[in-house]
């Protein structure tokens, strides 16, 4: 963590994100924030609350309702030297913009041989657990991670959210920044005041342990942590790794842990087939097969859309019980 900070302030994750956005606007006149309802309304989750009043309608503005337009226009702003920070209202509404993302966002540097680059950030709330309506709880991070030239960041704590978002905005290349809806207001933490960054590509050791490595990010970190706490009561040491960024991926931290524990569980709330959990599993299998003492286990969502059916939606998301079951399984192998 690079920092020029002193005081700490207790904040929710959404407040920490708001704080990071305000600092970015303050420090760099090129930073512009835009999207649907980000102006006077301050975003549907209030992540941009007060920013338009403070920085004006040119720096923080509502766009027409069109995600392809939001990302496409952001690309043009980035080409011309601004630092666009776009908000997509929910990750599930990113899809109209996928043409811009897949066709252009990650390719500009490559196809102009670095003559142009896109210092753009696209923020989007993602994931389930709070009974949102249909199509408001998607976890499409693997689609972005599978897109060359695009970085993917998913914080799990207020402190990380602030430092990672500032790093993302200062990064010369496009970054997707997914914010777990479940965590916006449910966790509070002391967050350093003022400017600091957390480098992209460095995972965080949440808990240390010698027996099992649980790899996760975003909304699944608290789930893994609860399972780890429960396992510790049974004398099983669980090392929880919060990836923080999927691209770039901190394979060093993952492999060091696997070499120690020899048992790996990967937890995400995304659909199972083709998810980023599979990428992590493959990486471990390729790089550390000799250290494995049990098969890698994935604890994930299902190969079905996230259900809009409130009374059963909790069964879609991995929970501490499922992670605990996976821990027992790898320990018993």
């Amino acid at each position: 963590m690079t920092a020029t900070v002193t005081a700490l302030r207790t904040m929710t994750m959404v407040a920490a994100i708001n704080d990071a956005l305000a600092l970015a606007l303050e420090r760099d006149p090129d930073v512009h924030i835009f999207g649907e309802d980000v102006g006077i309304m301050g975003g549907v989750f209030r992540a941009t609350d007060g920013l338009q009043a403070r920085f004006g309608t040119e720096r923080v503005f509502d766009t027409p309702l069109a995600e392809a337009g939001i990302v496409g226009m952001g690309i043009g702003m980035g080409l011309a030297g601004l630092k666009p920070v776009a908000e997509i209202q929910f990750a599930g509404f990113l899809y109209p913009a996928l043409d811009q993302v897949l066709s252009h966002l990650g390719r500009y540097r490559h196809r102009t041989r670095s003559r142009y680059h896109l210092p753009m950030v696209v923020r989007a709330p993602y994931g389930g657990g709070v009974h949102t309506p249909e199509q408001h709880a998607d976890s499409p991070e693997a689609i972005l991670a599978h897109t060359p030239g695009v970085k993917v960041v998913i914080p799990s704590t207020p402190r990380d959210a602030k430092g990672l978002l500032l790093a993302a905005i200062e990064d010369p290349d496009p970054v997707f920044f997914f914010e777990a809806i479940k965590l916006y207001r449910s966790v509070k933490e002391e967050v350093p005041e003022g400017h600091y960054t957390i480098p992209l590509g460095q995972a965080r050791l949440v808990t240390e342990g010698d027996d099992v490595t649980v790899i996760c990010y975003g909304g699944m970190v608290e789930v893994a942590q609860k399972a780890a706490d429960a396992a510790r009561a049974h004398g099983i040491g669980v090392e929880v790794i919060d990836l923080r960024t999927l691209v770039p991926l901190d394979t060093g931290t993952i492999l060091a842990s696997v070499q120690k524990t020899g048992r790996v569980i990967v937890v995400t709330e995304a659909p199972r087939t083709g998810g980023f959990h599979s990428e992590i599993s493959a990486t471990v299998a390729e790089e550390a097969i000799d250290f494995l003492r049990a098969p890698i286990v994935r604890v994930t969502g299902f190969d079905a859309p996230y259900p809009p059916f409130t009374s059963i939606e909790d069964s879609y998301r991995p929970n501490p019980v499922r992670v605990a079951k996976a821990i027992r399984k790898v320990m018993a192998y």
């Binding site: 509502d62 309702l65 392809a68 249909e134 079905a304 409130t310 009374s311 939606e313 879609y316």
Partner: protein, 370 residues
């Protein structure tokens, strides 16, 4: 006094009305808020007026009950449409069950008018799977959440009807905000180019959550967007159900005759919050909404019918009793739907579940059992 849906379905199509070509900036209005008839020749007959009135009352009752049920935890988050009944009822009433309806989350009133059963509609807003399992005898799809994405579907459904040689049409709804999405524009262009029998309803209710229409676009008359695609566009007073009905009937008949799509902009207002969980005071003032209560579509027609002697106070009270009884019976039916089981999460993904899905279903069931 009410026409039933089935009598409409079997009615012979009326003789072709000539499509009027209003000046592009004219807003079609048949009954002013003050109760004056502007164009007696186009006014629907009293029986139809009463039928539309009753449908609006029925739609309003659902909206009002949904709020109350939400507050007591018996309904999920619900996007209200109170004040927009003329825009939804007058348009959907022009369809038969052979026609397609593509409604957004805002359009519960349109879906009820088309014929979506109330118990199922309640189930949808309670987020029960029963609300998504659309009745076999209807061509209506679950309310669309991803804005504008349903518009091209309506073109395809309409085109399929035309290819099969039917006279059925497809109707799709969208908001002023939604009309900024690319899918809206692609659909209008496709429908024109392929002469698809579509009726596009653009409900301009002044707001897209916190964004007013004037910030959404520099265009001041959204019906004129049709010109760019070479199709007719009509602007209608969206709080005048007689006007929305007549204009939509004309567009539907045009489509049935094989003369292609129409865009109808209903000029109305979202006097309610975006959803029951929204607080509009963050982004609009009383001045913004001033004047719209007086344009209430239900009150407008009610006053007219009473003044004309087409409706008595006693008949009005009877309508109230009927729609209340209908709703309460439907609520009891919805209350009796069984709770879903977690295994339903993985059902209905494919006709033949993949091996992975079979495993996942077994996992869910084992978890349930333990």
């Amino acid at each position: 006094m009410t026409r039933t849906r089935s009598s409409r379905k079997t009615a012979a199509p009326p003789a072709a009305d000539p499509m009027p070509t209003p000046s592009p900036d004219e807003m079609v209005q048949l009954l002013t808020p003050g109760g004056e008839v502007t164009d007696p020749a186009r006014l629907p007959d009293p029986e139809t007026q009463r039928w539309l009135y009753r449908l609006m009352r029925r739609a309003r009752h659902f909206d009002e009950r949904a709020w109350v049920l939400y507050r007591t935890g018996r309904m999920g988050v619900f996007p209200p449409y109170g004040g927009m009944e003329a825009s939804q009822v007058g348009t959907a009433a022009a369809l038969t069950h052979q026609d397609w309806l593509f409604p957004t989350y805002r359009d519960t009133g349109a879906a009820l008018t088309y014929g979506l059963p109330i118990p199922q509609t309640i189930a949808y807003w309670r987020t029960s799977p029963h609300g998504w399992a659309m009745p076999q005898n209807l061509k209506v799809l679950p309310f669309y959440i991803p804005i504008a994405t349903q518009y091209p579907h309506a073109v395809g459904a309409a085109l399929a009807e035309a290819r099969r040689g039917t006279r059925n049409v497809a109707m799709a709804y969208i908001g002023d905000g939604g009309s900024s999405e690319g899918d809206f524009h692609e659909a209008l262009n496709f429908a024109g180019a392929l002469n698809a029998p579509c009726v596009f309803i653009l409900q301009n209710n002044g707001w897209a959550i916190s964004v007013p229409t004037r910030a959404q676009t520099k265009a001041t008359n959204l019906s004129r967007r049709a010109e760019g695609y070479g199709i007719p566009g009509v602007r209608v007073d969206g709080n005048d159900v007689l006007a929305t009905y007549v204009v939509t009937r004309e567009a539907v008949e045009r489509a049935r005759r094989g003369e292609g799509p129409t865009l109808i902009e209903t000029v109305t207002y979202r006097i309610k919050p975006h959803t029951v969980a929204d607080d509009p005071s963050r982004y609009r003032t009383a001045e913004d909404t001033a004047g719209w209560d007086e344009k209430d579509p239900v009150v407008r027609l009610q006053a007219f019918l009473l003044a004309q002697g087409h409706l008595t106070e006693a008949e009005d009270a009877e309508i109230t009793r009927e729609i209340e009884a209908e709703f309460e019976a439907a609520l009891a039916e919805a209350d009796a739907y069984p709770e879903p089981t977690p295994a339903e999460i993985v059902d209905h993904v494919f006709a033949e579940p993949t091996p992975a899905l079979r495993r996942q279903r077994a996992e869910l069931m084992a978890e349930e059992a333990s």
